[in-house]
């Protein structure tokens, strides 16, 4: 077993554990923290189904962002849905046999990588060029874009410049999943790509990437507008009534 195989095998175990554990911890905290008052941003749906639909529009189409700023919407949408397709395309490295829908989207996944990079470039340009966005940007906001951009570019490079041994890579990841380690292809570009992805996984639960689970717990978006019909009382607020 080579040095890099051991390092990367351990790295991905650790990264996966931190990602899953960290997210589970945060989601548990969001779920357990009470929302003592009804604060949906109105007009809001008056039924549970309506709220599900509102949340779907928010997550699938970025509805509020669309109303807010068309440039951020275009770049943000390109990036997120590009990334979504790219991730879906990568599923073929983790499944055997490959699922049919993953087979079907393979051709799109490639264009999606360009969309992802273009979206990131647009968002980054705004961070530098628009004075308001420049003012609110911390170093970490730039680094996050740099990290995602580097992941996209190293990934694209392996499609267009130097290919890696993708069959061996798949064997490596399946080996990790079934605890039957296989050697990792030792191409520098691949190792960099994977190290960056592992960093992203580790950073996820301690960064602003928490917006992904967070949006589902946002009381202004997920509450039903029915305060007159149904009394809403948090446990700590009920204590005050004793």
């Amino acid at each position: 077993m080579s040095f890099w195989t051991i390092v990367y095998a351990l790295l991905f175990y650790v990264a996966t554990a931190l990602l899953v554990g960290g997210l589970a911890y945060k989601i548990r905290k969001y779920a357990k923290t009470p929302a003592p008052l009804k604060i949906p941003t109105t007009p809001a749906p008056v039924t549970r189904q309506g709220v599900v639909l509102r949340m779907f529009r928010e997550v699938a189409f970025f509805e509020s962002l669309f109303r807010s700023n068309k440039w951020i919407w275009i770049f943000g949408y390109l990036f997120h849905f590009g990334m979504f397709l790219v991730l879906a395309r990568h599923m073929r490295y983790f499944t055997n046999p490959v699922w049919t829908w993953v087979e079907l989207i393979q051709p799109f996944g490639l264009y999606a990588a360009f969309a992802m990079a273009a979206g990131l470039a647009g968002l980054w340009a705004r961070r530098v060029l628009v004075d308001r966005v420049r003012y609110i940007s911390a170093l970490s906001d730039h680094l996050m874009l740099a990290l995602l951009m580097a992941i996209a570019l190293t990934g694209l490079s392996m499609d267009y410049i130097t290919h890696t041994d993708i069959v061996a890579l798949k064997a490596f990841f399946l080996g990790l999943m079934y605890f039957n380690w296989q050697p990792i292809p030792e191409d520098p570009l691949l190792l960099i790509h994977l190290a960056l992805v592992a960093s992203l996984m580790i950073i996820f639960p301690v960064s602003k990437l928490l917006h992904a689970p967070g949006v589902f717990f946002s009381p202004t978006r997920n509450q039903v507008d029915n305060p007159r019909e149904q009394r809403h009382l948090a446990p700590w607020a009920a204590e005050l009534e004793k």
Binding site: K38, Y135, R228
Partner: protein, 496 residues
């Protein structure tokens, strides 16, 4: 008129460039010991204030999911940066919603997140120093908790929630705001924000009854503390004497008179507004709300109806059932509480009022959606009813009505500039500048349609506009109550 520049109204509003620190000097008066202590807060800055503040932040993070999620979720996308009327009016970047939140978030990160504890520079995390506290006091009192940012945020982050938390933290270390805390104290002692005692209230209402009789020849009653009345009306105390509020109150009285429904005000709950919300204090908000429950029980009414008041309607519609419910002792046929607009609208729908629209022919009207009515409440059974009902009532009372531009009304409405506990003379510069986006929208319909008057249903909006409109070249009496229009148009004694 003022020692600062009045912002220029533009034909097509543009997003201003940032000018750092231009509003750092804006601070409301700090509450004195007596005003702090009557609310259960320390009288002055406590010795170990930093630690007390951190403890409070931790407590609030465990009590409010909104806070827990909002502090983590922001990605600094910039969508909100041009949405706040205070940013547009002042150009101070700390008045951009995300930057205002960041004043709190950077301390939260430093104390409570991995990244902020170990890599503070990287994520812009800082300790709560005296300088940071000064910034908090200044800029968390430049947020009117209007929620416009929350409409546009892709995660629904509501800066109001952060402002409320920050104000609660500051109260807990002894740095409260005089205006809000003094007023809440008056409610506890006397029953309303203005400190109008019962005899004065009775006197005022008798005077109004005489005014109506002189004008119309009809004896319309404005009862107070009348046991056995059907309806308890809770209205902002400004309705008892401020202009144009009082014309609205006379409007409610006439509507009840025509409907033939007995009603009463209460001297115990002679205030609809609940400043407990402005300072983010659940306990104080609850204590103020309980007075309404007590009054309803004491007077034995069947229904509760709220007068024209914006933040009050938020607390009433969204929170009252939570804070002071359940209201199972009231008539279950009616929602608790109702808005006077729902009551009047319903009567108009049933053709139970005779309205002579020509009585308002001297006015060309537009309507200002009050922020907390628009984005934090509802009227009627359907979402968005809070936009429809007031407009229908206005249109039923006058012949000439035009809406302001689409991106300044309904849920996109701009705050008047004086909401959320900022309607105080020590914040006059902020109030004038914060009114800019609304004034620009008004100017548009004034030029386009010859609009002469703007109607509103919030006591704060009415007071704020009456005060700041002259700075922009409008008459101070061009702000009117919606029920003032009803009052003008209503033909008394017609439906029996």
């Amino acid at each position: 008129m003022a020692d600062y520049e009045i912002p220029e109204m533009k034909e097509i509003p543009i997003i201003p460039k940032v000018h750092e620190g231009v509003m750092a000097h804006s601070k409301p008066f700090v509450a004195k010991e007596e005003f702090q202590e009557q609310l259960g807060f320390p009288g002055e800055l406590v010795d170990n204030w930093q630690q007390v503040a951190y403890d409070k932040m931790e407590e609030l993070n465990g009590k409010y999911r909104s806070l827990a999620v909002f502090l983590d979720a922001c990605v600094k996308c910039g969508a909100c940066t041009d949405k706040c009327h205070y940013y547009l009016g002042t150009t101070d970047p700390k008045n951009m919603p995300v930057a205002r939140q960041d004043l709190y978030r950077k301390v939260y990160r430093r104390k409570f997140t991995f990244a902020g504890k170990y890599f503070p520079k990287l994520v812009g995390a800082v300790d709560l120093t005296k300088e940071v506290l000064d910034d908090w006091y200044s800029y968390f009192h430049q947020c009117s908790q209007c929620r416009r940012c929350s409409v546009y945020c892709p995660y629904g982050i509501d800066t109001a929630e952060i402002s409320m938390a920050a104000r609660e933290v500051m109260d807990s270390i002894g740095v409260g705001q005089k205006y809000c805390n003094e007023i809440i104290g008056k409610v506890y002692k006397i029953g309303n924000n203005l400190g109008l005692p019962e005899p004065a209230l009775v006197d005022t209402l008798e005077g109004l009854e005489e005014d109506i009789e002189d004008e119309t020849g009809v004896k319309v009653r404005l009862p107070v503390d009348e046991k056995g009345a059907d309806v308890l009306v809770v209205t902002p105390s400004a309705d008892f004497f401020a202009e144009p509020h009082v014309d609205g109150l006379m409007g409610y009285a006439k509507v009840f008179h025509e409907a033939g429904i007995s009603w009463t005000l209460s001297s115990h709950a002679s205030e609809a507004a609940n400043f407990g919300m402005f300072i983010g204090s659940y306990e104080n908000m609850r204590k103020v709300s309980m007075r309404i429950r007590e009054a309803a029980l004491d007077l034995g009414v069947k229904r509760i109806i709220f007068g024209e008041c914006g933040h009050a309607w938020r607390v009433a519609y969204s929170f009252l059932n939570t804070l002071a419910g359940p209201f199972d002792f009231l008539d279950p046929k009616y929602p608790v509480p109702q808005h006077i607009m729902e009551f009047t609208y319903d009567l108009i729908q049933r053709d139970a009022l005779t309205l002579d629209k020509s009585a308002n022919d001297d006015m060309v009207l537009t309507y200002h959606d009050s922020c907390n009515v628009a984005r934090a409440s509802r009227m009627g059974p359907m979402p968005g009813g809070q936009f429809i009902l007031p407009r229908e009532v206005i249109k039923a009372s006058c012949n000439h009505f035009y809406d302001m531009p689409q991106d300044t009304i309904h849920e996109a409405t701009y705050c008047c500039g004086g909401g959320g506990g900022l309607l105080t003379d020590d914040l006059m510069e902020l109030r004038v500048k914060g009114a800019l986006p609304r004034m620009e929208a008004l100017k548009h319909v004034v030029e386009e349609h010859g609009v002469t008057h703007m109607a509103a249903i919030c006591a704060i909006c009415k007071s704020q506009f009456a005060k700041v409109m002259p700075y922009y070249g409008f008459q101070m009496d061009s702000i009117v109550s919606v029920h003032q229009l009803v009052s003008n148009a209503i033909v008394l004694g017609n439906k029996q």
